[in-house]
Symmetry: C2
Subunit: 275 residues, 2 copies
């Protein structure tokens, strides 16, 4: 397949978290078309096995390719850890995941060589961020804080309720004590409470997956001469595997704009879909 | 030590090859001061042991720090492979080496996922580029060609003589056959014959350490708020451990401009210097 600039950019996630990544992509690449798929019938990915996730990520990617995309973004930590290498091997389009871009950015940003990480338990346990930070600068220390309750609270609640404020204060305490000057928000849900995080981490630079991924995607398309001409406004479409109405409602909050029509595709429970 | 924007950028190499990197740094960061050290008394690094190179790289870096630098660039493949991690661990300033930036750039550039590498035998044998390419995109194939005679021929000869043209034609043949669309010039000497390489690799994008390192250094200083204000013209100084007159003569050819005064420091044979 010949890749051309007029094709869209495909983005997928287990649900709505990746919309914080799409938000940054829309800001940085306003002329591009986007197709976002939220795998809400399979949410959450954290409970699935790696083999199952690899097969599902390939199924989603092949659907995106069938719709016409020139690049695929995995806007999800769990899916990147489980499936990025596999997708890069089997697909003909570039596949860009989270983690590498933020780790690189954090290393380039820190002045005191002390970087913090806020992420889910699974992401911290996998050690991926620590490995990537070390690969870019062996002298940078990574202080990782697992935040098991934060993503679920953001997804379910009002981002300004007292419970989330208390949670943020507690999870950031070890980072304040460690004196980090840069913190990676290692989960795509966390930019939703960026203001609270900023208040709890004064003087600290926050690194988000969305911003760094958008830089990486822009650079990747520019170097390959696959960027659309600027001046036009791109289109965006949404699809999910679960209930479209629920996705539309929750998604509007994450993207901070109305989603319009949401198509339902690749539905069905994990067992059937993988079969 | 508090790092401030007014400090210089330190660059070192085993000799004059790193001046092709300095050339790109001067173009991208015209307001910065540079201090370049060529370790000509120790040239070539390829024959030294890793422990010896680590100790020497630290000695050079501490001398650069004593002169006042805010960031150190290792403009040399052999020194990066042997000492980058060590320097990143023991020094207080950021240390940026070659290889990671070019590998990343090549992955972002290739459209057909086939990347070529031209480098010294030691660099190809180390497998560093292959590892870094895979880390950024597991679906990219790297075709490596060791070029044992090219760097010595460039250093000694006229870059447009028939012998070098023949060599370039021969070393690039496997890359033409493999159909790569992107080639990493994995040795800082090779940009000296970039025109010959372009002619032997029509339609292929060449990636040089210098250009990618300059992007990385710029991004690193910008994010840390350590860039100098633009509009002024920076200064540059040269030092070497061997004969300053020989360095000045050869160096002018590599930098494509006169070097002016060259200071001699850290002189002496490898044994004495390490002992």
């Amino acid at each position: 397949m010949e890749l051309t600039a007029d094709l869209a950019i495909g983005v997928f996630d287990s649900g709505v978290g990746g919309l914080t990544v799409l938000d940054e992509l829309l800001a940085r690449l306003p002329a591009e078309d986007f197709l976002y798929f939220g795998d809400t019938a399979w949410f959450p990915y954290g409970e699935k096995g790696d083999d199952q996730l690899r097969a599902r990520a390939e199924e989603i990617s092949r659907w995106l390719l069938g719709q016409g995309v020139k690049l695929i973004v995995i806007a999800c930590n769990t899916a990147t850890a489980a499936a990025a290498e596999h997708l890069q091997r089997v697909l003909e389009v570039p596949v860009i995941g989270v983690m590498t871009p933020e780790a690189h950015a954090a290393v380039l940003t820190t002045r005191n060589r002390r970087v913090g990480l806020l992420a889910t338990e699974a992401t911290v346990r996998s050690g991926s961020y620590a490995r990537m930070v070390r690969a870019h600068d062996a002298g940078v220390e990574l202080v990782s804080v697992p935040c098991p309750l934060l993503a679920p609270a953001i997804q379910s609640g009002d981002p300004f309720d007292e419970r989330i404020m208390e949670m943020v204060r507690e999870y950031t305490a070890p980072l304040r004590e460690a004196g980090v000057d840069t913190v990676i928000l290692g989960c795509t849900h966390y930019p939703m409470v960026e203001r609270l995080l900023r208040r709890s981490l004064p003087g600290v630079t926050l690194i988000t997956s969305g911003e760094e991924l958008a830089r990486e995607v822009h650079d990747s398309l520019r170097r390959r001469d696959l960027l659309r001409a600027t001046g036009t406004e791109g289109d965006y479409r949404f699809a999910c595997s679960g209930d479209p109405a629920a996705f539309r409602e929750l998604g509007s909050r994450f993207l901070q704009m109305p989603l319009g029509v949401v198509e339902q595709v690749l539905g069905g429970a994990p067992e059937r879909a993988v079969g």
